[in-house]
C-alpha cells in the first residue's frame, strides 16, 4: 500500500511540474515578444519626440521642453496599440547639471542647454508594470538631447 501511495504522489508531482513548466514557457514566450515590441515603441516615441522638437510642433514645444524638468506631470503620456497589446508610455525629462557650477548645463542665450529624455513603456495594465508570474513588463530607455541638435538639423 505505501508504494501505491508513493507512486500516486510521484505522478501528481510530475503532472504539477509539467503544468508549471508549460505555464512558464508560455509566459516567457509572451514576455519576449512583448518586450521586443515595447522596445520598438520606446524607440518610436523617442524618434517622434525628437522630430516634433525639430519642427517645433506644436509651436512652442521646443521652448517648453528646455524650460525645465517634466517629471510629475510628465512631458507626455498615453497609450499605443500594437497587435493585441496595449502599451502605455510616459516621457519624462531631467535637466543635466553642471557639477562645477551646480546649475543646469548650458545657457538659453547660447542655445546649448542639455536635457535627458526618459521613455518608459509598460503593458501589464494601465496602472502597474508588474504582472504576477511574469515579473516586470516594462522597457525604459533614455537619451541626451541638446538644444543645438534640435535647432540645427544634423542631416548631411
Amino acid at each position: 500500500m505505501p508504494e501505491i501511495i508513493l507512486s500516486f504522489g510521484f505522478f501528481a508531482v510530475a503532472i504539477l511540474a509539467l503544468m508549471g513548466l508549460s505555464l512558464s514557457i508560455s509566459r516567457t514566450d509572451s514576455k519576449a515578444l512583448e518586450t521586443a515590441a515595447g522596445t520598438l515603441i520606446a524607440d518610436q516615441l523617442m524618434g517622434r519626440t525628437l522630430a516634433s522638437l525639430r519642427t517645433d510642433s506644436p509651436p512652442g514645444s521646443r521652448a517648453g521642453f528646455f524650460s525645465g524638468e517634466f517629471v510629475d506631470p510628465p512631458w507626455d503620456s498615453g497609450s499605443l496599440v500594437s497587435g493585441k497589446t496595449t502599451f502605455y508610455y510616459e516621457l519624462t525629462t531631467n535637466q543635466v547639471m553642471d557639477l562645477t557650477t551646480a546649475g543646469p548645463m548650458g545657457e538659453q542665450a547660447l542655445s546649448n542647454r542639455l536635457m535627458k529624455l526618459n521613455v518608459r513603456v509598460w503593458w501589464a495594465s494601465e496602472n502597474q508594470e508588474v504582472r504576477q508570474g511574469s515579473g516586470r513588463l516594462q522597457v525604459v530607455t533614455s537619451r541626451l538631447i541638446s538644444e543645438a541638435e534640435v535647432l540645427d538639423d544634423p542631416s548631411p
Binding site: 508549460s22 517622434r48 516634433s52 500594437s82 493585441k84
Partner: protein, 249 residues
C-alpha cells in the same frame, strides 16, 4: 478498486497535461519562428533606411496576388557602394547615390509547391490581403542612371525611380526574378509575413518619419486549428510597429 480508479484519474490528468505541454511547445516554437522573420525584416529596413535621406523615400501599395494588396512597397536611393558596402559621399558631404533599393511584400507564385496548398486569401477593410501568412518581403537593388535630361530626384549617378510597378513582380517560389530593367540583385529579406505596411509622415509634426507595421503568424499553431489561407489569422498574429527616421536631406 479505489487505487485503480485514482490511478486511472491520474493517468487521464497526466495525458491532458502532456497534450497541453505539447501545445505550449508548439506555440513557443511557432512564435520563435515568426519573431525571427519579423526581426530579419526590421534589421534589413533599419540598415538600409539609415543610408538614405527622407526626401528620396517613396511608398505605394504593393502588387495584388490574391484578393487585395499583398502589402506596401517602399523604395529610396541608397549611397551604399554595391561593391564595397561603404557609404559614399560627395566632396561637400552629401550622399553620393549609388542605387535604388525597393522593398515590397508579395505572395510567391507556386504557392502549392512551397506549402502544399493554395491560399484563398481575404482582404481587410483597407483592401489589404490578410489571410495568407506566406508573403515574402523582397529587397531589390536597381540601377537607374539618369537620362540626358538629368535626374528629377537624385544625382548625376543615380535617379530615384518614379514608377516601380514593373518591379513589383511575383517570384516563382523563392527563386529571384530576373529580366527587369536595371535589376542587379533580389534577396528575400523575410519570409512568412502576413502584412507589411508603410506610411510616410503619418503625422505632420513627426517630420521625416517612416512608419512601418509588420506582422507574422504562428503558422504551425494556426494550421492545427484553422484553415490557413482561408480564414483570418488575428488570433495567431504577432506584430512589430516601429518608426525609422532617415536623415531629412
Amino acid at each position: 478498486m479505489v487505487g485503480f480508479s485514482v490511478f486511472t484519474l491520474l493517468m487521464i490528468v497526466l495525458a491532458a497535461a502532456l497534450t497541453r505541454s505539447q501545445e505550449v511547445w508548439r506555440r513557443a516554437n511557432a512564435s520563435n519562428s515568426s519573431q525571427v522573420e519579423l526581426r530579419k525584416a526590421f534589421w534589413a529596413l533599419d540598415r538600409d533606411l539609415k543610408e538614405t535621406t527622407f526626401e528620396t523615400v517613396r511608398a505605394t501599395t504593393g502588387p495584388v496576388s490574391l484578393t487585395g494588396f499583398d502589402g506596401d512597397a517602399v523604395w529610396f536611393l541608397s549611397a551604399q557602394d554595391p561593391t564595397t558596402g561603404e557609404f559614399l559621399r560627395t566632396d561637400d558631404g552629401h550622399p553620393l547615390w549609388q542605387r535604388n533599393i525597393l522593398y515590397y511584400a508579395v505572395v510567391p507564385d507556386q504557392h502549392r509547391q512551397l506549402h502544399g496548398f493554395d491560399c484563398a486569401g481575404g482582404a481587410d477593410g483597407d483592401g489589404y490581403e490578410t489571410f495568407c501568412p506566406h508573403k515574402v518581403l523582397l529587397r531589390k537593388v536597381i540601377d537607374n542612371p539618369p537620362g540626358a535630361a538629368g535626374p528629377v530626384v537624385g544625382s548625376s549617378d543615380q535617379e530615384l525611380l518614379l514608377d516601380v510597378s514593373p518591379y513589383l513582380t511575383r517570384p516563382q517560389g523563392y527563386a529571384p526574378s530576373t529580366g527587369e530593367p536595371g535589376l542587379e540583385s533580389v534577396t528575400i529579406a523575410a519570409k512568412n509575413l502576413i502584412e507589411f505596411r508603410a506610411s510616410l509622415e503619418p503625422n505632420p509634426g513627426w517630420n521625416g518619419e517612416v512608419s512601418i507595421t509588420l506582422s507574422a503568424a504562428r503558422i504551425e499553431e494556426a494550421s492545427r486549428l484553422i484553415r490557413v489561407g482561408s480564414e483570418p489569422l488575428d488570433s495567431f498574429a504577432q506584430t512589430f510597429s516601429f518608426s525609422l527616421f532617415p536623415p531629412l536631406k
